[in-house]
Symmetry: none
Subunit: 135 residues, 4 copies
DNA sequence: GTGGTCTAGACCACA
DNA sequence: GTGGTCTAGACCACA
């Protein structure tokens, strides 16, 4: 469910924060939905459980997640983050900015970057088309 | 010359590493070109000189920069990174990957992301169009 | 494990670089072997931890050491430096050269220098004879 | 007359100090003998004159050299450093120590090191034999 | 416990 | 002016 890159320079717990927020913002994780257990994530990514736990704790403090005695944590009933497209586009601002900064410093044209995004997307699942084909 | 974001989670010296590599890869910094002095960058971004110095030292160890006793550091004669478009597109892979990960988790469609890149680009200089319109 | 001389004119972190490389070249530090922790070395030699850390970081950049999140650094699986006698003799070239330069400028004869090396060696452990006498 | 290595980690002015002391200790530079001018040395080694000047000034402060208005500096009449073999052997102690440290860490035997010194000596002038053949 | 990042500040080597 | 070395100390990320 999560994709963690220990080499990226971004702290692992921060990568987790971002990804949980996005999954909620996108509606993939709906209010009440259970999160994978700390241990599960820790084993799968060969990361210390405390690191996962820290991310979950911060999200709980934010009101995004809820702790349930003896059961997996769940998405809070009314998390701050919400679903409208507008919000979701804002959640991705940082990544856009990083991309544009890199592109400009590499003297790439807009065309070249758009092509690259387009082509890279093809290599992966297209969430949009999946939505369309699911009904 | 550099754009540093202390909030981003990515260590400042790592942001510098990336940006210097890109400026060289794009040809904006040519072999022999001097880099801004450690102090200069430090003052401009209100960052400790040692942080800048660390980035420069690592780039020297990589063979990208050259030290000149008593004078500013310069781009190495034959830095590993070179200019061909192919290479430059590779330099931006990480940023593309980050963007796509975020987009998928936010359930954004390819269309929505391409539009966002397109529109955001308009807010800034377009190196490509500048090149085209200058003759 | 290390012998550091703050008076020698050679920066401390550089002395460390040399010594780690030698210990690996000699096989005393094998691939996977843990290095003494930054704090340990720092306390033992009354040196600032960052100085040790800097040496370790440069050796990591060189591919000689490997970082292990939360655990001591280790010798890389395939460090550039290897064990053959030939290589080890090369690692000592600088020291030989320094010695010969000094000897010539002091107008010492080869005999005098060889005697001095011979005699000085007696004051210390002779790794070779130890190897020979152990069976 | 001097052999300077800017890469060695040892400051250039310190290399100069050592070498002047040795040349005097060995009798190659006798009391009253002129030293090469600051400018001469600076040009020959592509080093800033201030660096040479600094070394000379320190040696003057030590009483090893004497300044002569309008003429080259000379070796002082009674420099501290003197000629007896005993003294000269002491002047080379640091280099011996560095060599032995490296040798032990590389697990080289005394035999191997003596051979290496012997062989390396052959590649260069042998001051001793020169002395013998000069009469 | 491990290493990493950053700061503030002193002082050095070199041009 | 340039960069380099080192310290003391705060705080972070991870096991």
């Amino acid at each position: 469910m999560f994709i963690l890159n220990p080499q990226s320079g971004v702290p692992i717990y921060r990568q987790l924060l971002d990804q949980v927020r996005r999954l909620i913002a996108s509606g993939r994780l709906e209010p009440g939905a259970p999160l994978p257990s700390v241990r599960e994530v820790a084993v799968e990514h060969a990361v210390n459980p405390m690191t996962i736990s820290k991310a979950y704790a911060l999200l709980e403090a934010e009101g995004v997640l809820e702790r349930n005695r003896g059961k997996p944590m769940t998405v809070a009933a009314h998390p701050k983050s919400q679903i409208p497209l507008r919000e979701r586009l804002r959640e991705i601002d940082d990544e856009i900015e990083q991309l544009l900064l890199a592109a400009r410093q590499l003297q790439l044209s807009k065309r070249e970057v758009l092509d690259l995004v387009d082509k890279s997307w093809g290599d992966e699942d297209d969430a949009s088309s999946r939505r369309r084909t699911r009904p």
